[in-house]
């Protein structure tokens, strides 16, 4: 959008505006950002709705600290633990970055579960947000898998045997469990390949998956908007009206003097008579 200005402009401001206009004209970024960032939120939106962003911010923290840690970490069974000790004790601020990654991982698991609980208890997974819930559930599984694969990389006795137990638990799943365990371990027994395999899964495969699903999750949230909290008067009124309509339809369907048709499943539209629709 070009606006005719009268008088002299600060050249820095003018240059920035021209740059923004240049990019916007060629990408439509302005509209996209406004669509993404400046949305209406329902009345009653509170701190509870910030848990999802917290989880995403923690993922960003894990990504950044993880990239730096990968510069010093060596995924080889003979030197892996030494490189961890080196990061913690000798590299400048290594203890800090490793601590951020370690505690950030625990915090991410906690926050992801709180976020899931919030969505569940607020009923925000209901129509039309079922797919947001499903992508979120996928993100939960990927986050847990991140925890499993990252735990082994420390390569001390606790990490080693905890992961042996975890992969053996996976193997006890019926029918395909043994194969999943073998694929995870890279063989029938826990070996040197397992460490590099887990390292690759931990820092390439799952982060790509998480990033992809975060994009889908955010798109769906932006498209559908934030769900109204359960105490919202508007939502209560709408739900009451729906219930009313369902009851009325059930009443019309049931012959007089008989027991009314039991309530239909939630989410299934109430049947409407043709003459009534006209």
């Amino acid at each position: 959008m070009t606006v005719k200005r009268i008088g002299r402009q600060n050249p820095a401001v003018q240059g920035t505006e021209e740059l923004v206009d240049y990019v916007d004209e060629r990408t439509g970024l302005n509209f996209g950002l406004r669509w993404f960032l400046f949305r209406n939120v329902p009345r009653g939106t509170s701190w509870f709705q910030t848990l999802g962003f917290t989880a995403m911010a923690l993922f960003g923290l894990q990504a950044i600290t993880g990239i730096i840690l990968a510069m010093y970490y060596k995924p080889d069974p003979s030197v892996a633990h030494q490189s961890i000790v080196n990061i913690t004790d000798h590299v400048t601020w290594g203890w800090l970055v490793r601590g951020m990654h370690k505690w950030g991982a625990s915090a991410m698991i906690v926050v992801v579960f709180l976020h899931m609980g919030r969505v569940f208890f607020f009923g925000s997974y209901k129509y039309p947000r079922e797919l947001t819930w499903l992508t979120g559930a996928t993100l939960l599984i990927l986050t847990m898998f991140m925890g499993l694969t990252g735990y082994l990389l420390v390569w001390d006795q606790r990490a080693y045997w905890a992961t042996v137990v975890a992969t053996n638990i996976t193997s006890t799943a019926p029918i395909i469990g043994p194969y999943i365990g073998d694929i995870l371990r890279g063989g029938p027994e826990f070996g040197p390949d397992t460490l590099s395999r887990f390292y690759s899964i931990h820092m390439l495969l799952i982060p790509i998956g998480i990033a992809t699903f975060i994009v889908i999750h955010l798109y769906l949230i932006t498209k559908l908007g934030i769900a109204e909290p359960p105490w919202s008067k508007r939502r209560l009124a709408a739900e009451r009206a729906e219930e009313e309509e369902r009851r009325r339809a059930a009443h019309e369907r049931a012959p007089r003097g008989r027991i009314a048709v039991p309530p239909s499943e939630p989410g299934v539209p109430a049947p409407v008579r043709m003459e009534q629709a006209e």
Binding site: P77, S171, I175, P178, P192, E245, A277
Partner: protein, 255 residues
């Protein structure tokens, strides 16, 4: 509310479709209604176009299909080897061969000797407890049958205890307490004099290799591991956590 709106929309849509069908039955043009003008027309109805037929394969549709198929073939050409590379080597079972662990005199009678053996990983702490008692040799693997932690042998109690979840086994490796679903796994063993096999296990006669006819200079060979049930019946080697008998053994038909 959405329900009412949906219903009336559906009704309107149905009415529109009905109108269209009726138009089609009349030939599509109102001029051809019976009794109307039959003279020359300024407007000629276009000849039927085969492109309007939804079954007709146009150049665009053909090329779209070609693009989809070749794209799929190219993706498969990349993904099949990559996924096969990641998965195929892992599902093969471990290779075992006969290993000479020394003469019989190294393992005194009435004792259980702990022996480190090579595994896939130095961290794995893979050990064999060679039990030379009751006139027979039974090599017992230290991998807990519950979830694969290394069990420890206690000479005082003559039993095995797992540090992870408290599984406990008796002298023969049979479960006495805790969560393990089957006894400790064992290894095939042979007592050989030169190339002659003096005795071996597992056989149907005894759970271990008898030492009755063996000399102290005879060598002991260890072979493939196998699983057993509580009656010491021999089964194929199972991963930890899987029972070999009972109804739950049916959960793992391929191992």
């Amino acid at each position: 509310m959405p329900h009412g709106t949906d219903a009336s929309d559906a009704v309107r849509e149905e009415a529109r479709l009905a109108d269209e069908i009726q138009d089609g039955a009349n030939g599509g043009t109102p001029e051809e209604a019976p009794g109307s003008y039959t003279g020359p027309r300024a407007y000629e109805a276009p000849p039927p176009d085969e492109h309007d037929d939804p079954e007709f394969i146009t150049r665009t549709r053909f090329l779209t299909n070609v693009a989809l198929v070749s794209g799929g073939v190219l993706t498969a050409a990349i993904l099949v080897p990559v996924i096969g590379f990641a998965v195929a080597p892992t599902v093969q079972s471990e290779k075992f061969r006969w290993v000479d662990i020394g003469p019989l005199s190294t393992f005194p009678s009435g004792q259980t000797t702990s022996l480190a053996v090579s595994g896939p990983d130095p961290e794995a702490d893979r050990r064999i407890f060679l039990r030379n008692r009751d006139g027979m040799i039974i090599p017992i693997w230290n991998r807990c049958a519950h979830l694969g932690c290394p069990v420890a042998y206690s000479a005082g109690g003559d039993n095995y205890v797992c540090p992870c979840h408290g599984g406990a086994y008796n002298s023969l490796g049979l479960v006495v307490a805790g969560p393990p679903p089957r006894p400790l796994d064992r290894l095939a063993v042979r007592i050989v004099r030169g190339k002659t096999v003096v005795s071996e296990s597992p056989t149907s006669a005894s759970p271990g290799a008898p030492t009755r006819h063996a000399k102290p200079t005879d060598h002991i060979l260890l072979g493939r591991p196998y699983s057993i049930d509580a009656q010491q019946q021999v089964f194929k080697l199972h991963p930890p956590g899987e029972p070999v008998t009972g109804i739950l053994a049916n959960l793992y038909p391929f191992t």
